[in-house]
Assembly symmetry: C3
Homo-oligomer: 155 residues x 3
């Protein structure tokens, strides 16, 4: 029987965790846009420093990097490096028919660790705190990948 | 019954949309390579500015950023931030057993919005046009993520 | 019948290949961290150049780009542009019910081509060798995307 259906509670938890992570990562683009509007700069496209409805008073220095905007771009980059791996590893992990409590714990911990990572980077907390949040998410993805290989080897 | 099979017309439409987006994003790398060859620069790896079959007359300034090449890299980065989310959100959305017409509309609109976004960035059109194309794709991914959570909550 | 189960040998091979690629890409972050520690620099976050347990003797030049660290970041970026496409294309390809020998060959060749690409970039080999390794992986993803469209059109 296929396990990738909403009849399977583990898949339902995965689907909700995945939807939250997808919405979170997509929203990072809006945060970058919000910050570019707020500082009126940090643009990357030369055409964005042209006169237009969204930019009535263009200046060449609008194309210079702005740390406030770059911080949002780095969070986006970190999401890009991590969240697709969770989406794929989690889906395959659902197919290993894991115990529901374990799966729920892993999916919840992943989502919480990423939201904590987001907050820690946004507010420029210490490197140690950022690394801890990130490492929890990484460990969960490694665990799910390991469980996948383990399940495959049992056949 | 599993919905992730080619017997399910919604999955077939998803699979075709996904294949187009995968081929599109993969092709962006070739466009970057084409542009690096055309301007004979914009390289990022120091070893690429060494003498070799692909670079008979190396120059140190081949490693400087080149806007024509960087534009292709930014499109690639935008794909990287967006297309994996569509691939995951769309697959889970198929499992919610959506109405076929709605699903086909969403998948088609996503593909068209991304191809339009590609054209708009490649030809350096206005920020407003680029933002509109991007926002359509983002809205579709949000909608699919929302439908996923909604379906899970109904159980 | 669903094909996305561990009872399907093609899915098992996909799951193992996916797990290896997920673990590989996740590990690239650790390699970047290792290199930042080794050169005590190449940081991107201003807060990382502050005094703390991980950085007892901060210097402003720790925030300058460092080629040894940037090389690891470029490998990570290349993974980010490629591996999620393999994960998605491979999963959909499993649903096309391909011949097992062909699927095993494609998945194995993909994993080997990416590990070779990693080694070639890490050791700064020639552009030609790097391009060849990358192109093999790209060709496999294109092939799987094409097989997906072909299967959908047969219905």
């Amino acid at each position: 029987m296929g396990l990738l259906t909403f009849d399977n509670p583990v898949f339902r938890w995965y689907a909700v965790a995945a939807a939250i992570m997808i919405a979170k990562m997509m929203s990072q683009a809006w945060i970058t846009v919000f910050r570019m509007i707020k500082v009126n700069g940090g643009f990357r496209y030369p055409e964005d420093a042209q006169k237009g409805p969204a930019n009535p008073n263009p200046r060449p220095d609008q194309l210079l990097p702005n740390e406030y905007v770059e911080r949002s771009r780095r969070i986006h980059q970190n999401d890009t490096e991590n969240i697709p791996l969770f989406l794929a590893a989690g889906l395959i992990y659902v197919c290993t028919a894991p115990p529901e409590m374990l799966a729920v714990g892993l999916f919840s911990a992943y989502v919480l660790s990423r939201l904590a990572h987001f907050y820690v980077v946004l507010t420029a907390r210490s490197h140690e705190l950022r690394a801890t949040c990130w490492a929890i998410g990484a460990a969960i993805v490694y665990f799910m990948a390991g469980a996948t290989v383990w399940t495959a080897l049992k056949y």
